[in-house]
Symmetry: D2
Subunit: 337 residues, 4 copies
């Protein structure tokens, strides 16, 4: 961390600043510049709160040099993390395909869809039981009942299940779920993240709608710092000025997160684009960019879906997309599942 001092910084003020730092075990090093004086901080500054140092009279600006994430940082953990989710591994070089409907709507819907997804080549099943909706008047999910139906679909197909949690008070309902998903709107619900850090279960953490990759890694850090190292990061599109797509799919987040962190990276072209015609090209792009898993929305009858009808593939469309995915995985020498 580097502190740029004000032009007219007083000696006493600088001395006071250095004392505060010394108390935190940090020593300092001065650079006398022509226009600007600078202090370099030596020691572990990851716990230093930048916003507080700004309160010191002498401080003009503070620049962070070290990354603030530790446990999620590849620098301190060079090997890839491989997450075991039910009978599949995420992050070992294979590609996992997490398919299923936006919402769990009924027993027949989820079981029919799960069977179709498995037949087409999916290796995990997704489905929303708790649904975060912008409007209180939209379908809010089957909640506890939805999780029961997912478990029935798992019993039927053997596919591990991924489903979203919206509140730590529901955590017991997720006991038999294979991967707990944290949605984009809860990426900085820190109380929920802390609670998930105490659970012995993989967490699929979606990037927030307007969050940076560093913030995403800091949210992973929340989970990991409580003891749960089984975090899968997920790029699902960010908010930009573009209006044709639902969000903007930041494909470059995939290789970049893998460079900065050892955690596996999933991509969700369905939410990232919101357009059926983009699922295939963007799935292929995500694989070419190195994604460890893809999450794709499939519904046995999208025309009757209770949510996100317009971005869910039919089983027939999904089968076609899977053929292309299988082809490209073959070219890259990666196995699915």
């Amino acid at each position: 961390m580097i502190i740029i001092l004000k032009k007219d910084a007083k000696k006493e003020s600088i001395a006071r600043l250095e004392e505060i730092l010394k108390e935190k075990g940090i020593s300092t090093n001065h650079i006398q510049g022509v226009n600007q004086n600078i202090i370099g901080l030596i020691g572990d500054t990851s716990a230093v709160d930048m916003s507080n140092l700004y309160a010191q009279d002498c401080v003009e600006e503070i620049k962070r040099v070290q990354e603030p994430y530790k446990k999620a940082n590849r620098k301190f953990h060079p090997d890839d993390t491989v997450v075991q989710a039910g009978n599949v591994k995420i992050g070992d070089g294979s590609l996992q395909i997490i398919a299923g409907p936006c919402s769990v709507e009924s027993e027949s819907q989820i079981i029919t869809t799960a069977i179709a997804c498995k037949e087409a080549g999916a290796t995990m099943l997704r489905g929303g039981a708790f649904k975060p909706r912008t409007s209180p008047y939209s379908f809010q999910g089957l909640r506890a009942e939805g999780i029961k139906l997912l478990l029935k679909a798992k019993a039927e197909t053997g596919l591990p299940i991924v489903t979203e949690i919206m509140s730590q008070s529901d955590i017991d309902l997720f006991a038999d779920v294979d991967v707990i998903q944290v949605g984009a709107r809860n990426m900085q619900n820190f109380e929920l993240l802390k609670a998930l850090g105490k659970v012995d279960k993989p967490v699929l953490l979606k990037r927030g709608l307007a969050n940076t990759l560093e913030e995403t890694l800091m949210s992973a850090e929340y989970i990991m710092s409580e003891g749960n190292a089984n975090v899968i990061l997920c790029e699902r599109g960010i908010r930009t000025f573009e209006t044709m797509t639902r969000n903007t799919f930041d494909v470059s987040a995939i290789p970049l997160l893998k460079q900065k962190s050892h955690l596996p990276v999933c991509a969700d072209p369905s939410h990232a684009t919101g357009m059926i015609s983009l699922i295939e090209p963007m799935s292929l792009a995500a694989i070419a960019a190195g994604a460890d898993a893809l999450e794709i929305e499939v519904h046995n009858d999208p025309k009757c879906a209770l949510s996100d009808g317009g971005q869910q593939l039919t089983p027939a469309m999904f089968k076609e997309v899977m053929e292309k995915i299988k082809g490209l995985c073959g070219y890259f020498g990666r196995k699915i599942g």
Copy 2:
């Protein structure tokens, strides 16, 4: 709501779409255009899920005409809502000044600050007990203990207190709090919003970092639809590409929210700018734009603050800002408190 049909839409598909709509009590009206055919929907479409209609073959695009918020909408509730918070009223033409530290840190800190704020003219006390921090390694707040200290400061000064909730499981701790704040990162924590809708207490709802005003009003709608009409909206800055300020203070949100909704509107220049030198001009701008309340961070000793040290005013600075605020309120014929 208006549905633009695909050029090659089939009759059966259109008939099916109309049947779905009829089941929801909505009738339709056709417009045959030269390049495009359109269906206008007649009836209450606020509960119609746009994303689902996209799944119908014949649909190219859907455009909403009605605003999706009802209870928060001025159209259906022309009179201003006045929220009673302890002994003060928000939204009755007066200006409320909510001052206090970012975090509650100790008994002496909060009581000293509260007394200084009251002396300078503040009418309510703020202070964070539960702190949402990007990093798990930053100070997380005194939590339950912090609320106790706020209540002591209230007993000492008589100022009603405003403090932030981060999880519905903590709701009982807020029994004696006057206004419960929902922070920007939780604006779309829908489970929390629903829980607060069942509480008989004012809620100060902060706009999310990258959320639109419509989304903000929809979050107010979540609270209101559960029965709690005492919602105060709060503009606290949005994320933009500007880096000099912490956020960008959308001052125009103040008059616009008051035009679209009957709810009172608060503004938080401290978080919106993150710069001490901007608190005074932006407080005045917010008043000129019609804010019902201002939330300003004040700390008895910012240099020792455990969070946000760089944007908190000293009591002396706050007193100066209050003189300017009092002057401008006098000009506009508005009383403080």
Copy 3:
């Protein structure tokens, strides 16, 4: 186009509005709703200025139904446009690789780099003669001299050249250039676009830093409406809140532009990411997403580059990336060049 009327719209005001529309050859169709009355416009509304209609008393909101671009619209021109640039074709199913330095710096630099690029498999040469720089104190390019050096490199290697124009007053200098590039900052320099519409030469139009795809297509429309149909669209990254990458590469723009328009689409992973370590994965992602061309920065000695040193590949790095590109093109059955 659809016009939503105000609740209290007066008959005379509506009559006036309809008269204005009739003068433009547009007839209207009314939908009487429960909460809202709507007018549907029938006729060619692409020349109707939405902002003006808002001035009519009775208008609450206007929603566009038709796309405002015509000549660039695939609906009215279903076949792919193929642009001939020197001896290569862009948009015919092949992949073109446009490689070269950020800036032309000297004869030896551009010729050495051009030869290395060609040997590695590049099919076109890029190089900046006119350089748009944020600071007036940064290197501004060799200007006219730079174009002369590019032409020498073309004579040496046979590679068609692509270089950026910054002002229509320089247009004569580009007489022997194969493709004229319009940079992101000039995407809405409408006077320049009009001037390029009168030139008989392909234009590579880069998407602006914060522009939508519709705005990009409208800028293409400016060029095309003046008579020049040889436009290549280029995704080069948009501004988002992410700070690790220089911009955010909107890979989904590639297939989406190709769905909405018949024009060929280029992608520039160098500017889109600004990170050498991302050029390879993002080049592959762009190909998987269907790009017709890639623009990649290569410099014979990046350490001595006068601009963008940190994102330019060395010839050796470029050769490695090209091997991966060739492999993937082979898999997709696409030829390079």
Copy 4:
């Protein structure tokens, strides 16, 4: 400027880097940290191109410490710049009101509007002769003829005129204009900025739609570095995710630009909000925040306007807004004109 070295940086590479810097007259200072080594740069680094230094092997990250703008920087020019525009002064503590139509449409329109504006209290006249429009099919302005009409209106009313330039090839047409405006879309049209730097005439520089304040100041620097110090900065709203307003009016830019720079600052509530109902509150907010001038769109008959009809005030509305403006200026002890 500070350079953070890679963990495994080689001695030779660091030596090379230091040599490059020495050639530019910059000496260095090392900080040996626990996790990171850093080099502090001593000397004038404003001309050092950060992007180039990234090409050096040893460099991990570069952080700028000094502001890159010099001539526009208040640090090096503490006194306020006062710009003389015709018979009025901008930046001397007074408030200037620049009113007039979006576009000049006819002699009677501009003269009628100019007279009405003057009567209501405007001190300068605006009007677009060259119009930057997203669509080539929208009204493009009367161009040279429009400037002639503006000069007639000036002759009639004595109001100095402000009008926009779109290309340096038109510069001679602006010989009798009092202030040349550079629009948001041309803020980084560097060739135009350079040309305006050679003109002896005030330039009103509008902030770009997605540009930072530092970039705005760097564009002012382009003009000033060529010799023209008469630059007026203008906040006119930035692009955000908000859709209710045309742009988001960054009111905080007003005091912040005045803190960072000595140049006068204008605000344009018409373009910043695009909503008639927001012009009054946002004009007052801009004055409370310290604006030196306001630019407000007024049209003698907005219902017949050829552009931006929906955001232009009628003379009667403008008169009402002016009453409020005069009142507030009176309170602040500022004179208009």
